[in-house]
Symmetry: D5
Subunit: 122 residues, 10 copies
């Protein structure tokens, strides 16, 4: 697989799972996320919960923060960004199971929640 | 299937599911909904949650808002409106699974919640 | 079945289930209920949740309110009133499944919740 | 002043203020109150807060409960019942200051709060 | 002052203040209100709190509900509707003091609250 | 089985289950409970939830309150008191299923919850 | 002033106010308090807030806890216990200002709050 | 005063106060705000409340949203941005009184709130 | 197994499970926990929930508190500390099932929750 | 005044108030604070709110965090630490007004709040 430096995925770093023989649950609740609506050009705001059972690698928190900040000026829809984040995190950590859930602020009296999973929860 | 322009269903628009190979959950929480009680002619107020696992198509949010606004002056009972919204959304998106849940404000010291589903949740 | 006019059950009215081919959930949350304690003669206060999957008939809301008001001066215990309301509502609507849950205010530092069901939830 | 036994006021009992030389605040929060709407004949439900700085007498709690239960079958408007309860409690306790605040359940999408005072808060 | 039947103000009814010699506070919390944005034609949703110390007349609750429903299809801005409701209620009840406070749902990530008063609170 | 009058168990009274042919859930939430720590002699405070599906007998509420008050001066550990209350209630009501859950106030920055069950929930 | 060892007041200990030249506010929120109702013999449960601006002495927390535990078996009314605790704490700390506020659990659908003060808040 | 098009202030639009003879309170609660920390280059997230009593002009909501979005990529400290927003809004609306309050997300276990006012609240 | 006194594990004490024949759930909610981040040297703060079904031994609460205090100056990552606490508690109590869940305060706009289990919940 | 490097006060840094001509309110809410009880040697946990109207200097947030961390191993009472923090912050920022409020976790069923101020709020 080839990637160039400008791929946000390259920002993600991992560390060795310190207890790889036990299946345990890791959750990261991201309180601050913003991207841009590709249709209106207006900013979208949301929160993200990442839940996973690690394989050999865990995602490093500071690199996760920097990775998510790359969406600040990207135009991308709710459904898409949720799946792309899941794909990127699965690619770098190879988890036994992972779920990404995004919750978005109100637009036109409606707020949305998107939940995507990879693998089967042990 | 024939429809005339005055059918609110015609307002609903869809877009291609960007990740059709993954079964993921989409929720739209509608904070503002109002229709009319066919018995008393008085306005009813409620909130709606739409949850679905998309097939090939997703419902477009702005068109969903405009579609739901057509109920503002329609006289329709709680149980009926819940099922009609579900039928219309199923017809236009052909989801793998969909749930519509309506919660209504207090009338005579009682508030009601109606929950209808289509298909089996993957 | 014979009933006389003074039976509170006679107050309950029903209407035809508008979507009988779909099993969907109907909930009525009753915020205001009062009966009388048969032991002390003191008023009891509570709230009631009625959940059901309708068969051919749905219970009409205004008649439900009037029916529940007949308990205002009846002396009846928590466990009993919960089962009697369930029996009466089952008798008039013949649901596929029904649950009645009553929650009572504090008496002597204790509050009680009684939950009775009829049938198997589809 | 003459009163007959059927006057609910006669139910109210008092006891001597145990610390009459200090102006201190007494609050009774009544969680359960019901009366009848004189217009519709339908029951009203509410909560009541009674706040006062006692003079020589304090209102006895059990007698207060029995007094308030007499409204269960009385037809009386929100504004009226609040002032009548205040008048009765002032008459029997002669407080330095008293406030009666009633909060009513939702009717037609509106709930009301009525607050009446007697005297100047020390 | 002349008014024609189509003026929503004509819907407002009053009743005699039952305790005019005491200055007491009346609050009506309106949970359900909707009007139309004159700029976008989109519906606005809000809640309203009306607080007043009555003079000789109190506003009748059912007429208040019907009056507020006339805004359902009127195009009017937040700041304007708050002041117009206050003006109409002052005109029909001549209160010693009155406050109208409207709270609006989120639009573009912003929600607004408008608070207007008439007279000096006793 | 022999018991002497000083056994708190003797305080518990029961009444006939009014609907023994239906398996329904009874919950009593005890807001006020206090016992004594056998190690420190200091008072412990907690709340208790009793949930059960009755057999032929239900526990009478006032006798339950008096029974629980006997722990006020008994030195007994969290784990023990939870199981002893369950044993006593099972002995007097012979339920189809019963759960006792005790929640204790903070001690040294830690609060505890103990949950014991008897039988299999129908 | 003479006191015998059995006076609960004797349990209260004080320490020197570490910053006597600044008027600052000290609050102790007591989550667990129980006494006995002199009328029914039943236990009462409550919470207490003690607020004061110290003079030369502050009340020591562990001694405050032991002092309050002496009420566990004392029969004393709400209004009385609030004033007695205030009197005892004023006697031992000589504060510039002190307030004692007791909040009691629900009895007969009513809960009470009593608030007594000594001195003028600086 | 001269301004060039790139000044965010130029985005702000106003409309005539529809009720200039009454002093009433307008509040706009901005749920979504983000700027950049000039020290770390990291994004800051916050919420803003704008409260004012208008003079002749009110701030138009959509232009307010666009104005606030210009901070998305500006490096500016909490204390500074609060005062700059206040200055800009005062300059364009000339209010009788205005308050800007910003609340910021947690950084290093600390969150901050800054509140600045212009004029005297009528 | 050999351990030296400086192993925090040596601080843990147990007592005999008073009801070993019944599988019941014990939960300890630790409100106050702090350790040190090995990367930044900055303190971390969290809360811990320990849930278990005891075998022959229960963990003694005061010794648990002292054991957890040993982490105050230890540099250890979230994922690691959760598993180490679980290992230590399993080693000293040999439970039928145990779960340790740690919840950490916000760092860089993200908070984490780690949940590890030992054995199968009965 | 002479200070040596080991004085925690030396850690505090300030920056120039960007808007010194306006009296505005700055609040820092510290979610994580821990010190040591000088009597028991046990850790204390709390939260702190610092509110001030700056003079010429504002306290820099990162230095505030490092300053507060020096209390981690200091034995100091609630009343004392609150006043010492206030004194140190007043010494380095010379504010027009400042308030320090500390809230402590439950000890023996009691939690405390200490509030100290310097100067008169403008």
């Amino acid at each position: 697989m080839t990637s160039d430096k400008s791929d946000p995925f390259m920002l993600l770093e991992t560390f060795a799972n310190p207890h790889p023989r036990r299946d345990y649950l890791i959750e990261h609740h991201v309180h601050e996320f913003t991207s841009t609506c590709p249709k209106t050009g207006q900013p979208d705001f949301g929160t993200i919960v990442i839940r996973y059972v690690a394989g050999e690698r865990c995602v490093e928190l500071k690199s996760l923060k920097l990775y998510l900040q790359t969406y600040r000026s990207r135009g991308i829809f709710y459904e898409d960004v949720t799946n792309v984040i899941l794909d990127d995190l699965v690619r770098c950590t190879q988890p036994k199971w992972m779920q990404v859930q995004t919750t978005w602020s109100v637009r036109g009296g409606i707020h949305s929640v998107i939940t995507a999973e990879h693998g089967v929860r042990p």
